[in-house]
């Protein structure tokens, strides 16, 4: 159970292309999981300059090392382009340690 409002950062390589395309699908996933959230978009390089992020969603398939080193729960949303929400929702729950 997650009660607080999650600060979610959605990133891609450019900050404006694939992240913009997938934003509605990300919102749908978070809505279906019942979370309260606020999404900000950016490029993956901006993550370290953004405070208090609870969850990073990235259109990348694998995360560069410097993102892993930030120790923020990070989930790839690449599968959302093919419409696979279940996979991504499960990954988000796991990343946030959200037990049923």
């Amino acid at each position: 159970m997650i009660d607080k409002q999650l600060k979610v950062m959605l990133v891609c390589g450019s900050g404006i292309a694939s992240s913009s395309m997938i934003l509605p699908q990300c919102e749908r996933c978070l809505d279906e999981l019942g979370y309260s959230y606020k999404i900000i978009k950016g490029s993956f390089k901006e993550i370290k300059d953004t405070p208090n992020i609870d969850l990073v969603l990235a259109t990348l398939l694998t995360m560069p090392d410097f993102i892993k080193e930030l120790n923020i729960p990070t989930v790839s949303v690449a599968k959302l382009f093919s419409g696979d929400r279940e996979n991504v929702k499960a990954a988000i729950k796991k990343a946030l340690n959200d037990e049923d």
Binding site: C12, G13, S14, G15, I16, A17, S18, S20, M21, I22, P24, S43, F44, T59, L60, L61, T62, P64, A78, K79, F81, S82, G83
Partner: protein, 160 residues
């Protein structure tokens, strides 16, 4: 939907090519970039930036099976918002775990925020259509691709 946005401003037949033959992803991306250059959407520097972005960040640009959307950040040489469309004579491997091989590329240049968001919304819609890649790759000429895109746009406007 305001009338400033229309496919005609975002795609030019100078930026479309069908049946391009190459055997590696960098050549395919480079060609998509050269088409953007020909259409006046980008400076030459953008082309290498497109290749570099894919190399550094991996093949995430292969968004759905058969389809890649190479692009770079605007500051790397975008002049105006628009796309190039490239179909390949032979599919090419991009090393994506699920969506290889690629037969259709849409190169993307983003410059103006308003036109860009409308283009992105239009493209999102296109890739959700499961027949999109087949439809475009079956076009024999660039004029066919262009009119197919106009049709997609007409349908998109109806629902949006």
């Amino acid at each position: 939907m305001d009338n400033n946005y229309c496919v005609e401003n975002l795609i030019s037949t100078e930026s479309i090519e069908v049946g391009f033959l190459c055997d590696n992803k960098n050549d395919a991306i480079r060609k998509a970039g050269e088409l953007l250059l020909q259409g006046g959407f980008v400076k030459e520097t953008y082309i290498n930036a497109m290749i570099k972005t894919c190399e550094e960040l991996g093949p995430y640009i292969v968004l759905i099976p058969g389809f890649a959307m190479p692009h770079a950040r605007s500051e790397e040489g975008a002049l105006k918002t628009g796309i190039s469309i490239l179909t390949l004579a032979k599919p090419v491997i991009f090393d994506h775990p699920d969506n290889d091989p690629v037969r259709l590329l849409i190169g993307l240049s983003s410059y103006d925020n308003d036109a860009h968001m409308k283009l992105i919304s239009f493209l999102s819609n296109l890739i959700m259509d499961s027949s999109f890649v087949d439809e475009i790759t079956s076009c024999a000429t660039k004029d066919e691709v262009f009119s197919r895109m106009l049709e997609y746009e007409k349908n998109y406007r109806k629902d949006n």
